[in-house]
Point group: C2
Chain length 206, copies 2
């Protein structure tokens, strides 16, 4: 349907505007915090009235939703860029690499971290589509973790808790520094050294 060049053109323009709005939103939250996103100011930034934004996003939370999705896409891309065949033979280094990439992803953009990993916006809940992207990103990361030797749920849970904990402390108590970031290696090694990390007793093909 419609090899119509004009129709494509119009919808392309619309896509552009959508992207422009989201980009402006990222700028705003970077400057004023995640909760500091104002429809009127956002409208100003893209050169239209606040109400006009509603022909692109049905509500402010839909904008957060778009950012949420974009954030998790960035997360997937970021974690995939970790793929480095040089380390596939060594069980310790991929894990460390993964961990560092994760913590870096969090600390690089604290506002994004807040949006993706802490649920702090009052009425916001990701749409099914965005949530699906998030789940895919997690699944992706989980597989990479498994590749680097961490498989059972309790261990990956502990892994998640440790790294989000480190990232969180880093962001809130030493922004810009590395007081917690430099503990990442030690944390990873702790987990890898733990006998419970490689369970051959149950739920494992004897």
């Amino acid at each position: 349907m419609s090899g119509n060049p004009n129709g494509d053109r119009r919808s392309a323009r619309r896509q552009e505007t959508l992207a422009e709005i989201v980009a402006a939103a990222w700028e705003m939250v970077a400057e004023h915090g995640l909760a500091g996103l104002s429809m009127r100011d956002l409208g100003d930034r893209v050169g239209m009235r606040a109400q006009s934004l509603y022909s692109y996003f049905a509500s402010k939370n839909k904008i957060y939703d778009a950012m949420f999705m974009e954030g998790y896409q960035a997360f997937s891309a970021w974690m995939e860029a970790t793929d480095d065949p040089r380390f596939r033979a060594d069980p310790a280094r991929p894990a460390r690499l993964l961990a560092h990439r994760f913590v870096e992803f969090c600390t690089i953009d604290p506002v994004r971290y807040q949006l993706l990993f802490q649920r702090t916006i009052p009425g916001f809940e990701p749409s099914p589509e965005s949530y699906a992207v998030a789940l895919k990103a997690y699944e992706n990361a989980r597989e990479r973790l498994a590749d680097s030797g961490l498989r059972d749920q309790e261990t990956t849970d502990l892994w998640t808790a440790m790294l989000t904990g480190l990232a969180d402390q880093q962001i809130s108590n030493d922004p810009g520094g590395d007081r917690w970031e430099r503990l990442v290696d030690r944390a990873v090694d702790l987990l890898l050294a733990d006998p419970q990390t490689h369970p051959h007793t149950e739920s494992d093909k004897a």
Copy 2:
């Protein structure tokens, strides 16, 4: 000054009202979330208009501030009451006990956790007085940690990160359950088993 009984009476009444407002505020945030605190509704709850609250608290954030302080006082009290029969026979008792108490404190009241340990209220920053209470609480906890064998900064940093990470995951991904809470022992043991945890090489009386 004035040992005046009437003056005392008036200020006592004022103290009562202050406490009543804060108590009502805790109820409200428990029901509507930390950001769901509305001056008008809060006024309704204590039987006055929203504007009247301003003769008790200069702003909404001052109410958050009072809650913040109260929260850290509760934290101190909670961590001091550390006798738990579950751990009496446990060799790693003090450390495990501390860890469990901490995670419990967080999960028991997620809203309080959000107020005390995550900085998520838009314009809120604790007053110097409240912050002093928070610092004292941390210092208190740090001493207890030291008593149970965790002394150097990196180790206590890692401890903090692990436990807040566990609490955070528990609260946001399995509220009411124990999927992360039950990993607390393992996390503590990991830290205790780590050779780096007991450094006798430097900054230690030979």
